[in-house]
Symmetry: C2
Subunit: 230 residues, 2 copies
DNA sequence: CGCGAGCTTGACGTTGTTCAACTAGAGTGG
DNA sequence: CCACTCTAGTTGAACAACGTCAAGCTCGCG
């Protein structure tokens, strides 16, 4: 977790949509209340149940957000690529984390003092409205997720996961998967054995191909049909 | 769907937390861009897929929010009692409804022009921040829901539903259920037959009692244990 | 009294989990 | 360089959970 003095927010802001509604003074303020941290794969950025002091913005890498469940069954609620901030609803409710964030690849993140962000919510309406739009998009994603896990069978669930992974998380095709089978299972809400069986089936049917960690999607439409049918 | 000229927003605001951050002028503005509508049980307030023109605030009754799914299996994502507004994430994303709202009991609702609300998000930061807090609470509820439907068995799911219904939706105990078994099933994400079997089991074990439409919860702690264990 | 909608019950079949065994590959130490 | 170990991935068989289906029941209403 080496600390790293990374550009500055004005520069970083240029590369992302995230802070587009901030003016120079605001970015300067954020800049003076932030640290940039580098995480190694497998390191926890914050843990479910702990109080939240920082607003976290991913600037490099891949982050896994998951709900820890008893009996070591986790539930991955999302993956996150830069540049984006992690929306933790708990910040606005009880100031505690309701899920764990873990670096799935080599990751850098900016930690910004939460009170500074709170001030900005009050002073900058455009940012605040943009924030509502972003979290609304996430909420719609959660709806799909709930639909998926209540009504769909394993094939539909794995199809959903694949459609989520590409292009959103892995833009290339084929892509190198940095997640293990158990992660795919936690993302799909099923067991790793089921994931394996479904992937094998998909491969047999020519929908995808798997070579080690490399996955290629041949027939996206077919996956969409499977996703719809459940 | 008789139109009803109901008090005014300043008065209504007194009874609710919803508009506590509005000043008189703002309430007046809302007042002049709203209609109050009365819905009979079973009537649709808005339907999934339609564009959204109004911000909707429930002032009386009970509203069922559900995602329509193919094969007539619905998924109830929440129930709503007055006084509260319906947060439709689609409003901030694509201006379409992503679920259907239906009056489950005799219901009145205020429909407020969505552009007026949007202006208020920009002009009134306290309201806007309060809004973010409210929708964050809902997001946490969705997390629980996803956990529930992926990891829990029927007993845990029905326990969750009962714990949700009382006291949040039906404050009294015992309470008269205005929902049918299919609704309980759609809320729990299982079939109505399973709901019936689980309720019977709960009754046999003395956790609840059922008399027609009247349900009494005797042992809330036991339900919480069942909910936790899955 | 008869009808129909919603509720209840039981039998059955499917699905997916669980469990255990096996494989492949990477890392370690002699 | 080879055996050893450890982890992740894979496979198959047995089992449990739940959904499906069909039949019967209850109660309100005409």
């Amino acid at each position: 977790m080496a600390q790293e003095y990374h550009n500055n927010c004005s520069l970083c802001g240029r590369n992302s949509e995230v802070f587009k509604y901030m003016d120079k003074d605001e970015l300067k303020k954020i800049d003076s209340h932030r640290v940039s941290i580098r995480y190694k794969p497998g390191e926890i950025i914050f843990k479910q149940g702990t109080p939240c002091y920082n607003f976290i913005c991913i600037t490099q890498g891949l982050v896994k957000l998951y709900i820890e469940h008893q009996r070591n069954r986790n539930l991955i609620i999302g993956l996150m690529r830069p540049v984006n901030y992690i929306y933790e609803p708990g910040f606005f409710v009880d100031k505690h984390h309701h899920f764990t964030a873990l670096a799935a690849e080599e990751t850098t993140a900016c930690l910004i003092d939460i009170n500074v962000m709170k001030e900005l919510f009050f002073s900058n309406q455009a940012f605040s409205y943009d924030f509502i739009q972003r979290i609304s998009r996430q909420a719609l994603g959660l709806f799909d997720r709930i639909s998926s896990c209540t009504h769909k069978h394993v094939f539909g669930k794995v199809a959903d996961t694949l459609l989520y992974l590409h292009p959103k998380i892995y833009p290339e095709n084929p892509f190198y998967l940095s997640l293990c089978r158990q992660d795919l299972a936690d993302l799909s809400g099923i067991t790793k054995e089921s994931v394996i069986r479904v992937l094998k089936k998909f491969q047999e049917e020519g929908i995808i191909s798997i070579n080690g960690d490399q996955i290629e999607i041949f027939d996206r439409e077919r996956l969409e049909v499977i996703s719809d049918k459940g």
